[in-house]
């Protein structure tokens, strides 16, 4: 029997971690993810988990401790946000390149400066090419579900990569919503035990981790890593199927919401998808055929599948909650349009940068995007592909 609860996104993540019962959690507080290790540390104090909790002196140390613990053969987790992730950045690359399947909730928040602690995706975008599997979550339920699937995905022998589970800072992390939880033993059974093939604390097989890797080797190791990322797509689908059998909740690489017969579509991630679904329903009630493609799996990026799913619409808007400051559109826009181009899908597509630094994203904003798209669909013309909404001008 599942348990009906009402929890914030941070509480939901901490409860998933409790059910996972990792060997080591090393964390340093940073808003808005602070509550996750805070709640988790009470589980440690109350003896409901067997975890060694390491209160480190910085996020760089948090990730370093996780790397050590995971290499030793344990399951290691941490959680962070924004500048905390930025301070981890060096070790983020070490974790993935050493093929250590660490799992980390990432509560998305603007990278300062000027100083801002509110939601956008600039933190996640700064590690998008770091060899981490990145799953995005629309609400607390998805943050919880994705976290329960994360170890199974990352630890799979064809993958062996770290996984981060994103959710929107404050909007999801601090908002209380209804949620359906698995019972502890059911969740724990689904996650299973971690049995690495090679690990430092195995006295029968002494190993060396992270050796020199010069001109003759690094290229091949990066190719292996890239292959692991390619393999991850099928593994994610496989684990998601298994999760669906257990919970009835269905997950894929992305969610198609009324996209099948849509004339125009929005592509976005995290909580904005929830707002967009409301607008889609309202416009559909008026007979306007709009749809949504919500990215769940951002890394590996399902370029081919997305291109195919979008191939029948007449106009597309890709919403980026981080400005890439590169004069050619946000990261998601670049990924989507590159996927479309390579797969010979030629449809007028525009980019909207929005919600920077926690700027509210309203249903009116989304309606505005759909209305722009209907115009583009009618004329087939795009005057400026690099757009903004919610910007005061």
């Amino acid at each position: 029997m599942s348990i009906r609860e009402r929890l914030s996104g941070n509480e939901a993540s901490a409860i998933a971690m409790k059910q996972i019962n990792p060997d080591v959690v090393a964390a340093f507080p940073i808003t808005p993810s602070t509550e996750i290790p805070q709640y988790f540390s009470t589980f440690v104090s109350n003896g409901v988990v067997d975890t060694e909790f390491v209160a480190v002196e910085s996020e760089h140390s948090a990730m370093s401790a996780c790397i050590g613990a995971e290499a030793a053969g344990g399951r290691a987790m941490t959680a962070t946000s924004s500048n905390g992730l930025a301070l981890m950045w060096e070790m983020i690359q070490i974790a993935s390149s050493l093929r250590l399947p660490i799992v980390m909730p990432l509560v998305n928040r603007a990278i300062s400066g000027p100083l801002n602690i509110h939601c956008d995706h600039s933190d996640a975008m700064a590690i998008r090419d770091s060899g981490w599997i990145m799953l995005f979550s629309e609400n607390n339920q998805e943050a919880y579900d994705n976290l329960l699937m994360a170890h199974r995905i990352g630890e799979h022998k064809d993958v062996m990569l770290p996984v981060t589970i994103c959710q929107d800072g404050f909007i999801t992390s601090h908002s209380i919503e209804n949620i359906e939880l698995l019972e502890d033993d059911v969740a724990r059974k689904f996650v299973g035990e971690y049995k690495p093939e090679h690990y430092l604390l195995n006295s029968k097989e002494p190993i060396s981790v992270g050796p020199m890797d010069l001109q003759a080797y690094l290229f091949e190791h990066k190719y292996q890593e890239a292959n692991a990322m390619r393999n991850a797509k099928n593994v994610i689908l496989e684990i998601s199927k298994e999760f669906e059998k257990l919970t009835g909740r269905s997950y894929s690489l992305f969610e198609q919401y009324k996209l099948e017969d849509a004339e125009v579509a929005i592509v976005c991630m995290n909580s904005t998808a929830g707002t967009t679904k409301v607008v889609v329903d309202e416009l559909r009630n008026k007979g306007i055929k709009v749809g949504l493609l919500k990215i769940r799996v951002y890394r590996p990026f399902p370029a081919e599948e997305i291109a195919k799913a979008l191939s029948n619409v007449k106009a597309i808007a890709v919403l980026d909650r981080a400005d890439s400051l590169n004069a050619c559109g946000g990261a998601l826009f670049t990924d989507v349009t590159s996927g479309m181009f390579v797969n010979n899908v030629q449809i007028p597509t525009v980019n909207y940068i929005y919600g920077i630094g926690g700027r509210d994203t309203t249903s009116k904003d989304i309606e505005g995007v759909y209305s722009d798209l209907m115009e583009i669909a009618k004329t087939g013309k795009v005057d400026n592909p690099y757009r903004y909404f919610g910007l005061k001008s």
Binding site: R99, M160, P206, I207, S208, V209, G210, E220, H221, Q224
Partner: protein, 96 residues
Amino acid sequence: MTKINKESPWQDLTPGGTMYDAGNSLEFKTGDWRSVKPVYIEEKCKQCGLCFPVCPENAIPVNKEQKREDFNYDYCKGCGICANVCPFDAIEMKEE
């Protein structure tokens, strides 16, 4: 563990470059990093024992009688610390 060398294809390398073996730094000869070379002048050496404890590479072998022998050039990087501590000019640094 399969023997990995500079010609190994990606399929043969271990994930993350992990070595399923310990003590293997002996196989990594660092002597070719050297640009200057210490030369041992045995007749000047008093076996005072100051040089070998300061060698960062353990490249000065010591025998059972606690006497130093000639340099192990497989690992000596030519840092010159030994020549610097020698009170008897029994180690001379020479260009490679």
